[in-house]
Every structure is written in C-alpha cells, then in structure tokens.
Symmetry: D2
Subunit: 442 residues, 4 copies
Amino acid sequence: MGCDVSERGARSKTQLVADRRELHRLAEPGWCEVFTASKVVKVLQESGWQVRCGADVISRDARMGLPPQRTLDFFLNRALDHGADPVTAEKLRDGFTGVVGTLNGGAAGPVIAFRFDLDANNGGEATSRDHRPVREGFSSIHEGFHHNCGHDGHTSMGLGLARTLARIRHELAGEIRLIFQPAEEGLRGAKAMVAAGVLDGVDYFVGCHLGVQALSVGEVITGYKDILGSIKLDVNFTGKSAHAAISPHDGRNAVLAACVAAQNLMAIPRHGDGDTRVNVGRISGGDSRNTVPSSADLSIELRADNADTLQFLRDTAARVVAGAALMHEVTSRSDLVGESRAASSDPELAKIVHEAAREVPQVKAIRDCVEFRGSDDAAEMMRAVQGRGGKAVYFGIGTELSAIHHNPRFDFNEDALPIGLEILERLTCLLGAPGSGARPRN
Amino acid sequence: MGCDVSERGARSKTQLVADRRELHRLAEPGWCEVFTASKVVKVLQESGWQVRCGADVISRDARMGLPPQRTLDFFLNRALDHGADPVTAEKLRDGFTGVVGTLNGGAAGPVIAFRFDLDANNGGEATSRDHRPVREGFSSIHEGFHHNCGHDGHTSMGLGLARTLARIRHELAGEIRLIFQPAEEGLRGAKAMVAAGVLDGVDYFVGCHLGVQALSVGEVITGYKDILGSIKLDVNFTGKSAHAAISPHDGRNAVLAACVAAQNLMAIPRHGDGDTRVNVGRISGGDSRNTVPSSADLSIELRADNADTLQFLRDTAARVVAGAALMHEVTSRSDLVGESRAASSDPELAKIVHEAAREVPQVKAIRDCVEFRGSDDAAEMMRAVQGRGGKAVYFGIGTELSAIHHNPRFDFNEDALPIGLEILERLTCLLGAPGSGARPRN
Amino acid sequence: MGCDVSERGARSKTQLVADRRELHRLAEPGWCEVFTASKVVKVLQESGWQVRCGADVISRDARMGLPPQRTLDFFLNRALDHGADPVTAEKLRDGFTGVVGTLNGGAAGPVIAFRFDLDANNGGEATSRDHRPVREGFSSIHEGFHHNCGHDGHTSMGLGLARTLARIRHELAGEIRLIFQPAEEGLRGAKAMVAAGVLDGVDYFVGCHLGVQALSVGEVITGYKDILGSIKLDVNFTGKSAHAAISPHDGRNAVLAACVAAQNLMAIPRHGDGDTRVNVGRISGGDSRNTVPSSADLSIELRADNADTLQFLRDTAARVVAGAALMHEVTSRSDLVGESRAASSDPELAKIVHEAAREVPQVKAIRDCVEFRGSDDAAEMMRAVQGRGGKAVYFGIGTELSAIHHNPRFDFNEDALPIGLEILERLTCLLGAPGSGARPRN
Amino acid sequence: MGCDVSERGARSKTQLVADRRELHRLAEPGWCEVFTASKVVKVLQESGWQVRCGADVISRDARMGLPPQRTLDFFLNRALDHGADPVTAEKLRDGFTGVVGTLNGGAAGPVIAFRFDLDANNGGEATSRDHRPVREGFSSIHEGFHHNCGHDGHTSMGLGLARTLARIRHELAGEIRLIFQPAEEGLRGAKAMVAAGVLDGVDYFVGCHLGVQALSVGEVITGYKDILGSIKLDVNFTGKSAHAAISPHDGRNAVLAACVAAQNLMAIPRHGDGDTRVNVGRISGGDSRNTVPSSADLSIELRADNADTLQFLRDTAARVVAGAALMHEVTSRSDLVGESRAASSDPELAKIVHEAAREVPQVKAIRDCVEFRGSDDAAEMMRAVQGRGGKAVYFGIGTELSAIHHNPRFDFNEDALPIGLEILERLTCLLGAPGSGARPRN
C-alpha cells in the first residue's frame, strides 16, 4: 500500500555517475545546453514521460543574458557532433534549451514539480592530474567551461528520478513535473520558464543543491532560507578616443568613468534593514595604451535578502552609473542580464523533506533551516508557486568538495548522488502517494 | 627739459619702510582694507590728488567672494580703533575698499594708470623671533591674517609714487591715475573696479609685483607674460543626514560626493593646447562622527594660460561636480568667487620699463620676458585696457624673500622698495613727460 | 518580608523632571561633566551612599578622546559659576568626571551594579519656540552642546534610584553600586571605569536607555541584543604645501589622500559573517584655495556585531589609511578615540527585567529581545561582568521622541521617567532582596 | 663633381608604392617583423650593402615588451609561408628583427645613419570599401594588426634610399648606415639597437616621419623639437578570489585596486617645470561576475618633455601603484615595456634638411621647428648620437591622411614617398659628398 522506493533497486550509482560524467565532460554554458537537454529529452521519452521542450517551455522575451550567436552556434554544432538528435536539437537551438517532463499518477492528487539546472559555468577547469576529472578522464572538453557548481550532478539525479518514477507511476497520485532549466548561472533561465507557464498549477515545488553548507556525504539541509535576491547588470560606458599626448582633452575617458563607478558601487552604503552584497566581478576597457579609452564594461551583481533592499541597491547603482557617466561626459548603458527574487523554503514542506531524509539509511545528519547565503533562480520558481498558494522547498544534499563552487578545482563526492536521489524519490512518495499525509492546497 | 626724478631726493626709504610696516602690522584681508584704504585716501588728499573711493570706484554687483558681514564689521571697527577717518571709513565699509587718485599734468598727454593691491591674505604669520616682523615689532596684530604676498610693499610704493608725482606734476603731460585695488587675493577685486569704469580711457596700464621670479634686490623683469587666467569656485554639496548605524541607507552622503568630486577634479585631463592647473585647496564636511554627513564644501581653483583652455576646465569641473552630486543623490551648488583672464604684457611697454630700469643705478640685472606662472587680477585690468587699444605691462621688482609667497614666514628685503619706486617714477616720466618717445594711441 | 517599593511614594515625578531639566540646561560634553557629577556626588552623599569619584573610579591612561584643555577649563569654570562644590570639582576636573556610590544591604547577597551615563553631546540645540526645552526654559545654555540622547533623563533616574534605595536599604541584601559614567558619546568613558575596577565583583549589571526602538511611554524592551561593537578613529594626513600654480608637483596633497581614504573606507567589503557599519562622519583639510593642502583629518567609526568582524574592519581600515598615505606620499596618524565591544543582554537577567516591568501599572507593552542597532559603551561593562561569570542586561524604556536621537530637536516625554525608575526599583528588589529568586553566581 | 641625385631617375614611385603596399598587406607587429626584415635584408644584399641582422644588431637583454612566444611563432610561420628566406628568418626569429646595412663611400667622410621603423601596430584595419587599402586590395591580411602609423611608407623609402645610394656610392664620402628598427610602437626597439652598438661612431643621425603636423604633400618640417620622453608600464594587481555573496570579506579585490590606481594616476599633479601626460589606455580584470576579482591589469604610459619631469611621473606612478596595492592588500607588479627619452633635433642639421628640401621641386612649404607632441624612440638614437658629440635630426614629410595615426581608417597619400626619398637622397649628398659644406665632428 502506498509507494515504497526502498526495495526497488531502481537506483543505480553506476548510472548516476555515468550520466554525471558524460555531462561534465561535455560542459555547456547557459542557453547552450543542446547536448544536455537532448539527452534529457531522450531519457524522458524512453521512460514514458510526456515531454515538452524548446519554445514550448521557454518564453522568448523573458530570456536574459543570451550569449552571442557564434557561441550558440558553436555548442549546437558540438552537440550534433556528439550525437544529439537533430530533430530535438532543432527545437532547442538558439537559446531554448529547457525541457519539461510530465507524468500522471494513477489517482487524483497534487501537482508536484521538481527543478534541475542544466548549465555549466564560464571558467576553465583545472588540468593537473590531481584533479579527479582529469585523472579519470571526464574533465571538460570545452575550454573555458566547467561544471563547477554541480549542475551535472543535479541533472543526473533528475534523470534518475525520471527513471524511478516512471517505474512506480501507478502507485503515485496526482501529477509529477520534472523541470530541466537552462542558464541558472547568472540567474537567467528561471523567469523564462515561469513566463512560459511551466509552474502553473503546481502545489509543491522542490529544488535541491549539492554541497552548499553541507560538506559531507550523509548531511542534509531540509530547507534553505534567505536565498538572496539578485540583479545582474552589464554596464557599458562609451566615450571618445583621442591621442593621449596630442589631445588628451579631446578624449572622453570611458575607463575612468568605469573606475569611478566601480569604486562608488562598492561604496554603496550598508542597509539598516537587511543584508546586501555588491560585486563588480569584471572590468575591461580601452584598446591601446596610447589612446584615451573610449569604451569600458563592468559586470555587476547586486544581492539582498529582501525586495526593498534589493530595490535600494538597484536605484543606487543606477545613480552611480549615471553620475560616473555624467562626470566624464560619456554615455552609459545598463542591461539587466539576470534576476531572481529572494525566497525562503516553506517550513511545512521542509518538514516533509526531513521525514524523507530520515528514512534514507546513509543520511547521518539533518539540519532544518539554514541560510543559503547565495542566490539561485530556483527562488523565482519558488516565489511563483508560493504566490499562488503552493508550497516550495529548496533543500541541500551534503557532499565533500575538492574545492569550493566556481573554483577551477571544483569536484564533488559522487556518493552523494544515490542519497540525493533516494530523498527525492521518498519525498515524491510522501507528497504524491495516495493516502500520504501531504495534501494539495485545494 | 622734461621730468627728471633722479635728483629729487623725493624717495625716502625711511618713509617707504614706515608705511609698509604700518600696513603689515594692521593686515586686512580682501574687502576689509578700511584702515589701509583710509590711509591711502589721506595721503592722496594731502598730496593734492583728486580722490574717489568706495562705491564710486567699486561696482557693487561685480564684487566676488565677499567675507561674512561679521568679518567686515570686525575690520571696520579695528580700523576706527586705529584711527581711520570715520567719514572715509563710512564710504569704504561693507566691501567698498577701493581708492582712485587722479592727477592732471601740465600738458595734454596720455592717460597712464598704475595699479597697487591693498589686501593681506588669509593665513597666520610666523610668531618666532627669527621672523623679522616679530623681531622688529611689525608682525600682524590680526591673528590669521598676514601680508604674505608683499601687497604692503606695493601699496607703500604707490603712496611714494603719489608723493613724488604730486611734486613734479607740472612737468607731466596727460593724466595719471593711481588705482588702489582691494581683494587681489582670490582674484576678487579687479573686475569690480573695471566695471566701475576706473580703467576707461587709459592708454598705458602699469602693474608690478615684488619677488616673483626675481629673487634679489636689483633684478628687474620688464614684463611678465602668460599670467594665468583663473576661476575660483566654492562648491557645496547638500545631502541628508542619518544615523550611521541604524539607517545608513537613509543618508545622502555629501562628504562622499565631495571626495569623489575632489579626486575627479584632480584627474581632469591635461590639455593638449595649453598649460592648466587644478587645485582643491580646502575641504570640510560633516558634523558628527556617527552621522551620515549631510553637507560638504570644496574650495576650488582652475587656471589656464588661455581662454579656451580655461573654459575647458570650467566646463569639465562643472560636469565633475554635477556627476558627483548625481552619483550620491545630493544637490550641488557652485559659486564663482574669483575670476581673472589670462594676460601678457605688451612688449612695447615692457621695452619702456626696460629703459626706465636701466636708468636706476641700483638695478643690476634686467630680464625682458618671463612667464608669471601664477595669477593676478591685474590681468583683468590689462585685458580691459588692451581690449580698447591701450597698452599694458606687469613688471617684476626683485627682492630676497625669507620664504616663498603665501608662506607664514614670508618677508622681503625692503631695499627693493626705493628701487621699485624709482622705476615707477622714471617710467611715468618716459610715458607721461611732454616730448617723451611714448605716445598715446590717438 | 522582602522589599516592596510600590507603596512608598518614594518616586516623585516632580523631582525627576526638575533634576533632568537642570542637567539639560547645563549640558556638559564628555569628560567635562563637572557640574553634573558634582550634583550626583552631593545627592549620593546626602542620601547616605559611600561615594568615590574622580581618579578613584577613572583610570587615567584608559581614558579616550579627551577634549582640549581649554574645553575642560571652560566647563570647570562654568560648573563653579553654577554652584558646583569646589572640593568635589577639584577631584573631577581635567577629565575625571566619574562617580560611584555604594550601599550595603542588611544581609549577604549579590553585588548589583547600575550604570547611568552623564554626558551631553556635541551639536547645537534647536532654538525655535516649538522646541519644548525653549518654550519651557530649560534648553541648553552651552551653545554647541545638547542633551540629545536622553542621558539627562538617565542620570535623573539614577538620582531617583539613589534616593529610593537609601530609604529601603535595610530591606536589601548584598551590595548596590550606582555607576555614573562620563563620556558615553564616542564610547570613551566605560573602559576607563572598568580599568579602575568599578565593575570588580559585580554579579548583576543593569543599564538602560530611553527611547531606543520603544517609542511610546509604557513600552519596555527587557534586554537588547547585538549592541554593536565599535571603534572610533581620528585620522590625520600630513603632507607638504606648495604653490598650486608654480609648483604643484612639489606638494604632497593631504586632502587628496583623505578623499581616497574616505572613499575606500566606504568601500570596505561587506562581511559574510556579520553585520558591519563604516562611517566617515567628518572631513576637513587645507588652509587656502591656492595652495596644495598639507593637512587633512577624518573622523571615522567602524561598527560590527562581533569581535572578529570588528577586527576585520579595523585591520582593513588601517590598510586603507596606510595605502592612501603611501599613494600620495603623506604621513598618516590614527588615534583610537573611542571603543566598545559588541555585547548582548543575558536572557536570564532580561527575564527578571520582564518580571519587574510587569509589576509596573503604567507598563503597557513588553518586548523581550530586540536588536539595539547602535552602540553604547555600557557594552564594555557588560562584557567585563559577563567575562567573570556575572550576568548583564541593557534594557529599554519607551518614550515618545520629538525627534530622533542626536537631532537638534531631540526631546522626550518625561512621563517615562517615573516608569523607568519604578522598573529599576522593582528590579533591585527582585535581584537584591533576601529570599528573592535571583541568586548570585557563588 | 659632388653627388647629384636629381637627374638619375633612380626614384621610382611605382617601386615605392609596390614595396609599401606589400608591407602594408603583411602587417607585422613589433618584434615579429620577420617578413619585413627579410625583405629588407634581401634588397640590401642585392644592392651591394654589407648587411648585419638579428642578434648582431639587437641586444637581447635590452629588448622590451616582447609579445608571447605564440605570437612570435605565428608571424615567423606566416613570413615563411609568404616566401621569407628561411636562413634569414632563422636569424630574425624570436624577437631579433632588426637590420643594419653599411656602405662605404669612395672617400673619407662622416658616418651618417638613417633610421626607418618596420613595425605595424595593434588594432584592426577598417574593412569597408571606402578605405582605399580595401578597395585597392592591399589591406592587412593579419586581423588585429594594421600599418596605421605609416612605417610601411618609412621602410619603403628606406629601401628606395638603399637602391639609390648603392648606385652613387662612389660619389659619396664616409660611411652610410641604414638602420631598420623593429618595435617602434610602444618604444620598445630603439634601446636594444643602441645597446648593440649600431649607433657607435655616428656623426649624423637622420630620422623622419610621414604626416605628423604636416598634412599635405609638399610640406616639410625640417626638424621636430620636444619629442616627448615616455615610459610604458604594464601593471598587474593580484589579490584573492572569494564568493561575492558568502565571503566577500575573504576576497582581496584586485579590480578595486586597479580602479583606485587608475583614478589616482590620472590625478598625478601637473608639473610646474614641464609638460606631462598620463594615460591608462587599457584595463582588464576579473573572471566572473559573482566572484571577488583576484587579478587586474593596467596599461599605462607616462610622457614628459624633460628627464626630471619624467622621473617625477615615474616615481609618483610607482607610489600610486604601491599605495593602491597596500590599500586593498593585493600584490602589484610593474613591468617596463617601453621607454624613450625626450629629444630635440639639432638646429644645425635641421638647416641642412631645409637646404635639401628646398632643392626638391615638389616641396611647397618648409617649416623649421615644430613640436612633435608625441613620442618616438628615434629619440633614444638621437640622444645616443648627441651624447657622443654627433648631430641628430628628426624631420617631417607632409602627406594627406585619410584618418589620424592609430585610427582604423589610417592611410596616406603615397605621392609623399618619392618626395621624402628625394629629400633623403639630397640630404645624403649634402652631408656625405666630398666637398660638401657639412663636416664630421673631427
């Protein structure tokens, strides 16, 4: 009676690791995950899920921070080279790399959505032999791109969950949606999937992350709170070049404007009513040593733990940029290239994660409410669901890391994958089995 | 035949030194020279000059950088305490401390104007006994004010010239005007006298300075070139105070705006077409350590060797101030408190200075054309005269200095005074004697 | 049996208000509270307390941020003019304005210390008639100084407590110490009293503040947490002056160094492990518009909610100052002029404050644990007591304010005074009565 | 009697243009001029000059600003692809791309050196059809590199001079040296040739430039003065990366250090004793938006019209960099990647250029002494020759430009080439012909 995943043997660590390593090796950045998403489509279809992808699940105009066309083309071609199905790839190409699988249980019940993120990150991977992916032959073949945030593991667990749930579908009530999201890095993808309606009607939303504040296999954090809201801005200053010796007065120095802006962005005052973060992660400007530089770019991110404080940062940053431009008589342009609101897990749902985790033998330590201290655009999906009366949770799966997230030496202990998967399976049963304690909102 | 001053004994070093030391002791800053100007009026009247002073020679609305009323009142009262004539003081009070004496020669001839500046400077005088004014008892009795630029010497020579010329008036042709100008420091007074018309009709304009690039008694520079044009600005930023711990985000930080402005003013680019100077000489802002500061002030000066370049500085500085204000959401206000254009001596007139200097036995070295490398609002008078077809010269009288101009230890070798006076006398004869080579323009 | 303060009528609002207004009128800044402390000495002595003051309770070398001697002299003389006892004043003069009263109860028991702060603040008081102190004739007669933080009310309650407890001394067990501390503003006085040993042996420490996050009469906050630790620094940069036109390269620009420092202090990064605050509340530098400025000063404060984070701020600020000085080839000097660690109230003691407050009829609303969001050097005393095993509480007495603390229009509703006093009295009984539930640590 | 070049027809505009366009098309940046220098070697050898090249004329350790090995390799291979002689290329490879040709006249006489620069510049060439090199098929085939300073024309004239002088060698007295220098852009090559001794014993040094302040064919400037001395610095700041949200305090922000440095470099004060220039032409730093950036680079140039002033800039810039690094606790490293002293043409030699130019029929306008207002490391060679008693001149050949030097649209009117060549020929005759008025120094 009810679903029981514990004895099925459905979980194969071998499969999880193989999937994860294949994705790691073919690391694809945000909006370029054609190979990865094609693979997801294939597994879902083979397992009997209804599958939507591409423009059906990604709202064109809500996408942020797309890479240049030549990058999109490069990864499309690489995906085809490595065996992506051309028909699927055609749907995914040009920045539509989302996938949604749907499975209807055998009885009426709640709509439960799970979200997994697909993208690798910008940043080269370590190449020395003491980096396990090198030693064991699965390090990224795409120079400058690296799964340094564990999304390969997330997607691998998502594929595992797809296989398991397909097998026990008749024991489940309600509807299960597996959402595979592109472009989490930079907070660029979630809003485009929300805008496409993929969260409509969801009663329970579940997201998870590997290795965030839980740094050993067997640890679980049942629900993060205070996922920081964030705005990502690309700012350009454009001035006027001039010979630096003959007519420096004729130049309009875009680099100087950018330097003034960077310093004053870092000097945005602390906020009395909440935690804030400001970073100018990249700067570049000027072509030639002996010319007054006419162009400069900044990559900015602003974060805050509540909406008002984030708005304060946004307004203040806009003034800083405008003031720096005015000061040096250059023009400025600011593009929003990523955005996610702040969110926290619902304690009620975190409690059920706790229950699920407790049933997993390898789980050694469970913590209930921990600050996320970073951002994830799963928060946009959480807020969408919470805004319509549903419940959302974002929980943590412990694993040892060889280096912190976003580091060239990042890797994780793959023993975490079957544990994470089992928690997801048991959570599905608790939420979606007929007769489970969990109830849809209506 | 013609005037000859050489044998008159009119020049008394004793008198020159006594006058200079009296003025030095009663140092009065710009627009406050009530004692000094009263003394000038008295000497001129006693010598038989026609005298105008106060609002007759100072255009009310063209005055710049007036001190607060309490400073004006303080020096008015001090002047009366020290014996200034109350009737004269009444005319001079409240920032009308200019005097013009006129003498008509015995024949038709050119209008020759001499300008002497009256004011002491802000800045305390050295108080140790190795400073001669202390040792010999004539150091400033007004704390915080010091004749550290030699204007006491200039005025003393002006009084000497008044006495001499009165005595030889019948040998002179044309009209002589002695212009005693307040508030040269900060370039605040000249424009107000020009606007009052005191330069109208002048054929030859003569100004002089002690100890600028001529550092020994007996040196003469016959005409400075490239007196720098300059603009003096007082800038205020006004923001909003807030508790620095509870609500720093609520403040609008005027000090930060001022600091950004100061740095970026110093970073105004060099100009390819001329020499420029920028200085932020003073900053002050904020009341309390634990409050976001709501007000800040900058004292700025901009200098350049030509009008276009000065305009470039002015425009750029205005943008820097506006940009800094916008950046920190404060308001800014900029007051023009001093101004003088760039100017150069006319070589024709410098040549006559050369001739005059050559006749003075104590003159050992004559240089003809030297950059001034500073500013003096005599330049405004020069430009006014040159603009109407007259000729102007600003020449240098050498003297040893105990410390550079504007230094608390500034003092000069008073042996320069009779030499300077004799050059002025001989120059008058060369320009204004009937039958002299010099000719008015019409 | 047990002490009962409720029916004594010992509390006179008339007396509390009279005392408060006398102190308000004779506002004395930190280390200058000769009149105030003399009055405290007198009241304590008349009520039968043992009294120590001056160098007995203030450690000379631990004092921070003393004003110039002329300020100390001014207020000494003012105090004498207004009737301070000359013998007492002699002990208090020159920055030794602390007082400690001791009372031994009739039985063995804990040592209970109460701390009241004496000083007014820098900052002029409003002068318009809609400011009640003006209208009712008790506004500050010392221009530029104002009891704008309610310490006059604190001291007034301290005097009330002294009178009450003297009357019921035989009902009390243990020892009561009343600590009247100078120079809370700027966090300058507490450490000097701790260093003098006045907290030695204390079991319970009690401090309180009017109107902090409790803005109506009848509200009580039983114990603040997270009183921010803070460091106050006066930084001077000394460079070299030079003529701004002739030899700008010869100057070493102290104002520019100060501006760079100010901007980069504000840009000290947020700390991931705690709340921080940075403020540059004042800047001043330069003498003369046309001189490269040779000196500049900053008034800085750094705050944090834990010791490590405060140390991070301190180290980082020191580097910013050193770097700015190196950059502009000026020297820097940094003086620590105030300091207090972070602290939080002990919940056990806050619980007893709750109990005491609950017994006071006019108390309408009690909150138990609120962030202080500012600094108070009572925290130094709390840490001293807590460090040796005692318990400490800092609680809040609600009152309407006419304007926020440190504002020229600050005033408070004096109805809060008898309520605050009654809480203090009842708390003493709860802690210090024989048979009370409260127990000393040993 | 004496040499006469006027009637020889030696000059072929066709040849000059063909040579120039071949070099333009195969644009090679500094230290990479393998094709260009090979061609020079071939022409010199075929014309009968003694030829030295590679390490014989370039001092290994005196080279500055070498590109990375992969750039050196790329251009070596390109040169071989386009037919460079492999034996010569082997000598020139890896940054030894200088050539010196020597010709001894038929009689004793002075040593006369001519210098031509070989390198193209970094910066893409315009690709639209209104750019003549595109239209006429000789635009650069090396993307990102462009002969945008006319060195292709200089080298073409150098080859022309080689051919002419070889033909009239018996009419010449003394020794002629043709110096073909790599890496003028960035002032990187001249010192390495001086250090190799190629200027030893030179009596007369001649350099020239197309289109500098002489913007029409037929104009000649007989000798530039005040070629600015300059220092080129590459500065790197290295800090420590950290997660921008979780642990911003753990980062050491190299971008912020670079911004502070850039701003304060631009704020280096004007110098009272000479003209200065400062430029930060390029900035880049940081990898990822959400990471505290650990590395940043600045490309800096400093220029001044005399050695003391340049030293002032150098010292001040070093302090700014060190101060910025200290301020943000990052390390800094500064590499000197280019350098040339200030220099002026000797008027005596400029007079002979005047004489030579006057004889050329197409020359329409001759100016004698014009500020260069930029830098050229020919100045290092001039100073080397002048320092040993020789005379040096750097003169200008007028030509219309389609856009200013260093602009993507730069091109020049090739009619200037035969005129420039004829001036060089006639100048050689004036200096080097037996019986000419010009005399060696000994």
